[in-house]
């Protein structure tokens, strides 16, 4: 089945197997920043932006992406020009193993688009569905606040 998507700003046509989840498809096509931590919608590691909304790729069937704009961490910034969130995560020490990081970044990005200057509580609420076992979340929340400040 052909699926027409705009991924990280580029139009693409994806071939999905019947019933394939968006997570499996996206990873298969090489967007491996989208992580698989549970395939059950519980960890948030597979978070992507679909038309700007943070969603769990493992809970979407690939066909649901038809006509949508998808953003993954690969599309957030580049090595030379990282997104302010990526820079802030590194500066604040919010990246330990980094496995949760792409999902955290996208959930944060969705928040900052809606609420450019959130407070800590708003950040905590926005990231509630994204699990991290390494950091204790403190530096992640700080990183999002730092990015918001720098982007203001």
């Amino acid at each position: 089945m052909d699926i027409h998507v705009t991924v990280n700003g580029r139009p693409e046509v994806w071939q999905a197997a019947p019933g394939e989840s968006a997570l499996e498809l996206i990873r298969r096509l090489g967007y491996t920043s989208v992580k698989r931590g549970c395939s059950q919608g519980d960890c948030g590691a597979c978070t992507i932006l679909v038309d700007g909304q943070a969603m769990r790729a493992c809970l979407l069937v690939a066909a649901q992406l038809e006509g949508r704009a998808v953003t993954t961490a690969e599309g957030l910034g580049s090595l030379d020009r990282p997104h302010p969130l990526q820079r802030a995560f590194v500066d604040a020490g919010a990246v330990q193993c980094g496995f949760c990081t792409p999902g955290m970044l996208l959930a944060s990005q969705a928040l900052l688009v809606e609420t450019p200057r959130p407070d800590a509580t708003a950040v905590r609420e926005a990231l509630d569905g994204n699990l991290c076992r390494c950091t204790g979340y403190k530096k992640i929340v700080e990183a999002v606040l730092l990015a918001a400040e720098r982007m203001a």
Binding site: D42, V90, V95, C97, Y137
Partner: protein
């Protein structure tokens, strides 16, 4: 006095070297590195807690198009060994083989397949016909050693490979008994003697990346295993053992690891991936599902009996610590985790007489393993709640009571010599300790004096509690770390280390140490870690060893390289080598002449008396200096619902010199939040057949951002002279505090002692009801 020193790179919050690549979502984890034509591996697991495999028929699975290999006990050689990734000979019993004729817990391995897709692999598993002869199971640790209990390891070839007690016929996987002096005399001298039982539960590390391994047959007949592991060199050794190959035929690579916390100090799936790939002649990728991850390795649940005696003046007279550890179906880390209950806990206070006794027993439940804290977590629950109870019984402030009794600089504990990794330990005295400062600064940060004993009027009660902790830094005389360093044309360096960065940031810490010696910035150091073909040996990331142990190997190699640089620079600058300093990316003489390091590199590589400036070094230690810590919890207990909320949590830690304070804080915060989550909500629920009922992240809840309290980390610097630039360990200690600190805070709030974790609303309410009942009587 600890030497006061200023460093250029050490002690600075240098950004993690791999941070940006990770934040960009680079292809850095095993699952991102799959080659074309890679097969998918899946494992068939046991539905029964205890059964013999009467027959297994894999023909229908083998006949399925797209299936390339099916493995089971009938076609894989039986080699008894352990999955525990420890040094050789391992202290864990050899009670495991790749596939056995018996299954010993729900989730135990039965067979495995490699197929062209996950769907085909799943279908193949369904087509494997297994007949089980179901056996009675041991599901209660307290009855595991009863006369007539089912014997879990009745196979004649299970054994231990070091001389330690092992009685599988009684389900006894490990036993330890140590005493110093006559504790009965101590209790006779005491004014207060307390004895209670404490209990803690199963828990899983839940790294967000589950276990994952890729095995690829190479054109030269070797096999490369790319795996998410903490112990690449042990993986090589143990997989070679399983395959019956020399280690040189295996190449083990550790890419970035998505968290481990001990779960990946286990050679758990690499053997299966290796067998599948060699049979199929194709690359095979094997990843555990989240539910399988819960049944991989766990924290050993324990029942801890603790008896202590103290005099009215607050001095201690005796202690007896008794541990019953549930190692589950296999004895992975059974002995050493049990030993740690004593060796990392009893030295904290000056007990004149002490007894320590531990049994690790088999049950038909999930398998214990290494988990951050490694036994210390379990035993500190008992020790630090009971220290609070003792203080209460003596009418002393628990904080003053601990200040009075903790071990001091220059002192030793008989336990250090008596108890090591299964056998005797190594004598050591304490050279660096900042515990007083941890206690005082932590108390100030939580508001101890102001908040203690003021629960408030309404149904929401507040309380504060504290505890003290220590851990170790590597396993003395056992662990070895190696490093090699070479200089390149631009005055930069390649640092090759066997040490294993599993997200902790150890690559960065080790680069900082090298950079400090060489007078360069960390950007000048390219780190390659954990590749068994390229890097020197290292035991891997466990026992809080990397910074302290591998860091010292890096420092030695860097000092050697610095000496070689001075020699070449001396020729260039017409000075004596000893007069030359390395700083700011330059070599400098005292009279102010300087050249860039690249000049030295070019001369050594291309111009004169050419040679590669490089060095190898390795390091072992003769002591395991403990980091110390004091934790403080402020809780709110809802007396109507029983819900406990941690409002604020302060962890003050003495880890010597924090080579990278930001990473040290990160280690502490991660460990503390994991500990709080364990204290309040994480536990395994089983049905009556021994099957885990809550094997998903929805049902097995771990803390998320919404649950986090205000976390405060205080780094208290000391200088450990045996560590690199004064460093000790930091990664494990933080997880030991939350259960006792929170229990003690709950007592301060509502007057009930919770001795069994987790502190769920039901348990809290039950304890409150019981208290009300007692008060009514």
């Amino acid at each position: 006095m600890s030497p006061k020193r200023e460093f250029e790179v050490v002690g600075k919050p240098v950004a993690k070297l791999d941070g940006l690549a990770l934040a960009r979502g680079g292809k850095l984890f095993v699952a991102d590195l799959l080659p074309r034509g890679c097969l998918v591996g899946r494992i068939l697991t046991s539905p029964y807690a205890h059964a013999r495999i009467a027959s297994i028929d894999a023909s229908a699975a083998e006949a399925l198009p797209g299936v390339h290999a099916v493995l089971h006990h009938g076609n894989v050689p039986r080699v008894m060994r352990t999955t525990a990734g420890q040094g050789a000979p391992e202290p864990s019993p050899y009670d495991f083989t790749t596939f056995d004729r018996k299954v010993r817990f729900v989730g135990d391995r039965v067979a495995a397949v490699a197929a062209e897709s996950e769907a085909i692999a799943e279908e193949a598993l369904k087509r494997i016909k297994v007949e089980y002869e179901v056996l009675p199971a041991v599901l209660d640790v307290r009855h595991a050693m009863d006369k007539g209990a089912p014997v879990i390891h009745d196979e004649p070839d299970c054994k231990v490979v070091i001389p330690v007690p092992y009685e599988p016929g009684r389900n006894l996987a490990a036993h330890v008994d140590t005493r110093v002096g006559d504790t009965a005399e101590g209790y006779a001298e005491a004014d207060v003697v307390l004895e209670h039982e404490y209990e803690c539960q199963y828990a899983q590390h839940t790294p967000i990346e589950p276990h994952a391994a890729l095995a690829e047959p190479l054109p030269d007949g070797r096999l490369r295993i790319t795996t998410s592991t903490q112990v690449p060199f042990h993986v090589r050794r143990i997989v070679a053992q399983a395959l019956g190959w020399p280690v040189s035929r295996l190449h083990v690579v550790k890419p970035r690891v998505g968290g481990g916390f001990g779960a990946k100090q286990e050679v758990l799936i690499e053997d299966v991936a290796a067998f599948l790939a060699t049979r199929a002649g194709r690359p095979v990728y094997l990843e555990l599902s989240r539910s399988e991850e819960f049944l991989s390795r766990t924290r050993h649940p324990m029942v801890v009996r603790l008896k202590t005696g103290a005099r009215k003046d607050g001095s201690l007279t005796a202690v007896d610590l008794g541990v019953l550890s549930n190692t589950g179906a296999y004895g992975s880390h059974a002995l050493t985790v049990a030993c740690n209950c004593g060796s990392k806990v009893l030295p904290l206070y000056r007990w004149p007489r002490l007894g320590f006794q531990a049994d690790a027993v088999y049950t038909n439940l999930p398998v214990g393993g290494a988990y951050r804290g490694y036994g210390a977590t379990q035993a500190y629950i008992a020790m630090e709640i009971q220290m609070d109870e003792l203080a209460q019984a003596l009418g002393l402030d628990p904080l003053e009571f601990r200040l009075r009794n903790h071990i001091r600089k220059g002192e030793t504990s008989p336990i250090f010599a008596a108890l090591g990794e299964g056998g005797e330990g190594v004598e050591q005295s304490i050279d660096s300790i900042g515990l007083d400062a941890c206690i005082r600064q932590g108390a100030r940060a939580i508001g101890w004096k102001k908040k203690r004993g003021k629960p408030g009027a309404g149904p929401l009660k507040r309380g504060v509690g504290m505890c003290c902790l220590m851990q170790g830094s590597s396993i003395p005389k056992v662990d070895m770390g190696g490093a090699s360093l070479k200089m390149n044309e631009d005055g930069g360096f390649n640092l090759l280390v066997g040490a294993t960065d599993l997200g902790t940031g150890s690559d960065t810490v080790l680069a900082q140490i090298a950079a400090e010696v060489l007078g360069v910035s960390v950007e000048q150091i390219v780190v390659r870690s954990s590749d068994t073909d390229l890097t020197p040996f290292d035991v891997g990331a466990y026992a809080s060893s990397t910074t302290y142990l591998s860091g010292q190997a890096v420092r030695k190699a860097a000092l050697d390289v610095a000496g070689q640089i001075r020699e070449v620079a001396a020729e260039l600058l017409d000075a004596r080598p000893a007069e030359i300093a390395l700083a700011g990316g330059q070599v400098r003489t005292a009279d102010g002449r300087a050249l860039p390091l690249s000049r030295v590199a070019m001369r050594s590589l291309y111009e004169h008396d050419q040679r590669q400036i490089a060095a190898f070094a390795s390091h072992i230690t003769h002591k395991s200096p403990p980091p110390f810590s004091a934790h403080f919890a402020e809780v709110e207990v809802d007396t109507e619902t029983g819900l406990v909320r941690v409002v604020k949590y302060v962890a003050a830690v003495d880890c010597g010199t924090a080579i990278n304070p930001q990473l040290s804080e990160g280690q502490t915060e991660g460990a503390v939040l994991n500990g709080i989550s364990y204290a309040l909500c994480e536990e395994y629920l089983f049905d009556e057949k021994g099957r885990m009922r809550n094997d998903s992240l929805r049902e097995y809840k771990i803390f998320s951002t919404r649950d986090m309290p205000e976390l405060v980390t205080i780094l208290v610097p000391t200088y450990e002279k045996t560590g690199p630039y004064g460093a000790k360990s930091v990664s494990e200690i933080g997880i030991n505090g939350p259960i006792p600190a929170i229990s003690n805070a709950i007592f301060d709030a509502v007057g009930v002692r919770l001795r069994r974790a987790p502190f769920t609303p039901e348990r809290v309410l039950a304890a409150l009801d019981e208290l009300a009942g007692r008060q009514a009587r």
